[in-house]
Amino acid sequence: MAELQFREALNQAIDEEMGRDERVFIMGEEVAEYDGAYKVTEGLLDKYGFKRVIDTPISELGFAGIGVGAAMNGLRPIVEFMTFNFAVLAADQIINHASKVRYMLGGQASVPIVFRGPNASAGQLGATHSVAYDSMYAHFPGMAVIYPSEPDDAKGLLKSAIRSDDTVIFMESEQMYGMRGEVSEEEDYIIPIGKAKVKREGDDVTIVATGKMYHIAKQAAAQLEKDGVEAEIIDPRTIKPLDIEAIVKSVKKTNRCVVVDEAHPFGGVAAETGFLIQREAFDYLDAPVQRVTLPDVSAPFSKPLFDLWLPDAKQVIEAVNAVTYRN
């Protein structure tokens, strides 16, 4: 194992895949000469040149679509968005084209493309820079949605994403890029898409959380441990396909579940997971599934309001208290 920053793990994954497959290239705003807005692509321009590390204008719709066309015509693009908040401008290409072309042409084309970049909030950035889009993309058929929480997951899953023959949405976080973690040094380290990981074992309650929220869940679990509550944390890592079997297996053991999701409440990952748990493990539940999400409110700027808005460990503990009737 090697200790790497999240950004370094991503960089290794991209570098390794570009090294093994000439068809892989990366394009996006500031990916080349600037070395990446968050330094994920640092050094790649020097190594692979301007043909394969391509700075784009601020034209999300346009370059996402050029990526889709290039993918259809034999290449394997990695399209970096400075944040998925900006990818909204490219939604037509992702939702109407990348995810649908193969089906509507009766299987005559493939779109092996990775759209990646940071997702959700990153501090006081205001309403338009703070939205979690994972459940929105997961809504649409035809794409995998990955939102890892730790450098090791990030490396193994990004390599899988780049090798996928279909469209993959790969989400990161501005606030996690500097986070360090042990990363496998196994040669050609691959984590299959769609497999959850039990990141903490416990018998009292299941907490489901991915991406940045995994770290909130981890903080909560550490607090709860002091109070004698052992939480089991399941990190789905992949939002879609969702490894519901792993979640249900844990819930059948703990009989209680809290889902933490950095999205607004309506129709999010928490809502979907909660529904599936009640259907698949109804007889095992000792309490209704609880969720911790953003409120149905846009992101405020002001620090106290922002802190109130964003899910935190305290809210997770309160939800755990509710499902364990410890109030």
Partner: protein
């Protein structure tokens, strides 16, 4: 504030002018080429194939319209009638492995790029034997193995994809170019401008072609966009051209020259081909936005009649031989209808086919 429809505040007067009964054309056609087919390097045989193809596109759609009106299939049906010289002239000018992509008015493009009348008609009927296995319908004809990447239903949505096809060709240094067709309505989409900018920046070998058929759905070109469309290229320092699209020779001559230049220099090109859509935007269009007189004016320049006259005048074929071609096409289209009617619908299992190239995954599939 304007309170009458005639006052030009957000309701500019377009080609419809009921008051003076004057025919105001939504798009003015420049003169066609005066070159003969021999001067253009086209053989008599090429001419016969071109006529056969244009006539097929016309009859295929006229019959498709009848079938639609009879309720044989549903969905949208956007007809290309009037514009056949554009698809035909282009495909004869490009190499067979150059990549073509277009919008939803795509039947003509599919037929000229190798989709049989049978596969096309079956697709309209939603049958398993259709070119896109009945998954796409009228708007999503495709024949990828012959480098026709399909028709797309979001106005302007496929323009960046056309650029992407060119990007991949340049990246792979395979000598192919791409040609991306869209209507005058798509000129107003931001996707076009983003794509033109990047295409010029990266010298993508793509011909972006506006098939200006006079109308963005029901809004005349003069009412939905400012200035001359082809001049938009100037803002990007991109080469451009504008020519007559009702004459297949003119389309062939210009597209061949442009394709050669795009291929040799690896550059993008912006082209406005002026043509005319005889039918409504789709089948549900009452066409109140234009006069019958305007339509008649354009029909005088019909690309198929023009070609037929040329073939007869130049004695490339005798009248009887032209009639034989027409009968052959007529039979082909009728056989296609029979084929479409008799073909099976996709099996229920097909619902889940063709979503993924790799391992399929469907959330909560029972």
């Amino acid at each position: 504030m304007a309170n009458k429809k005639t006052e030009p505040v957000f309701t500019p007067i377009g080609s419809y002018n009921g008051e003076n009964k004057k025919v105001e054309k939504s798009v003015n056609l420049p003169d066609p080429t005066d070159k003969t087919h021999k001067e253009l390097g086209l053989s008599d045989d090429d001419l016969v194939k071109m006529y056969d193809q244009m006539y097929l596109q016309r009859r295929f759609e006229e019959r498709a319209m009848q079938m639609y009106q009879k309720g044989k299939f549903g969905g949208f049906l956007h007809l290309y009638i009037g514009q056949e010289a554009v698809s035909t002239g282009t495909v004869f000018a490009l190499n067979d492995d150059d990549d073509i992509i277009t919008a939803y008015r795509d039947h003509g493009w599919g037929l000229v790029r190798g989709i049989s009348a049978k596969e096309g008609m079956a697709e309209l009927f939603g049958k398993a034997t259709g070119c896109s296995k009945g998954k796409g319908g009228s708007m999503h004809f495709a024949n990828v193995k012959e480098h026709f990447w399909g028709g797309y239903g979001i106005v302007g949505g496929h323009i960046p994809i056309g650029g992407g096809l060119a990007f991949a060709n340049k990246y792979q240094e395979n000598g192919r170019i791409s040609a991306c067709f869209f209507g005058d309505g798509a000129v107003d989409q931001g996707a076009l401008h983003e794509t033109l900018n990047m295409s010029q920046l990266w010298k993508l070998p793509c011909i972006y072609v506006v098939e200006n058929n006079g109308y963005s759905m029901g809004t005349a070109a003069t009412r939905h966009t400012v200035g001359e469309i082809y001049e938009r290229a100037n803002g990007y320092g991109m080469k451009s051209a504008m020519f007559n699209g009702m004459d297949v020779f003119t389309v062939y001559e210009n597209m061949k020259r442009i394709a050669d230049e795009v291929r040799e220099e690896s550059i993008p090109y912006f082209v406005e081909i002026r043509t005319y859509r005889y039918r409504g935007h789709s089948m549900s269009d009452p066409q109140k936005y234009r006069t019958k007189e305007e339509l008649k004016e354009y029909q005088k320049t019909d690309p198929i009649e023009r070609m037929k006259k040329y073939i007869l005048d130049e004695k490339v074929l005798k009248k009887k031989e032209v009639e034989e071609i027409e009968q052959k096409v007529e039979d082909e289209v009728l056989e296609a209808i029979e084929f479409a009617e008799e073909s099976p619908f996709p099996e229920p299992e097909e619902l889940y086919e063709d979503m993924f190239t790799g391992t399929p995954h469907f959330h909560d599939k029972k």
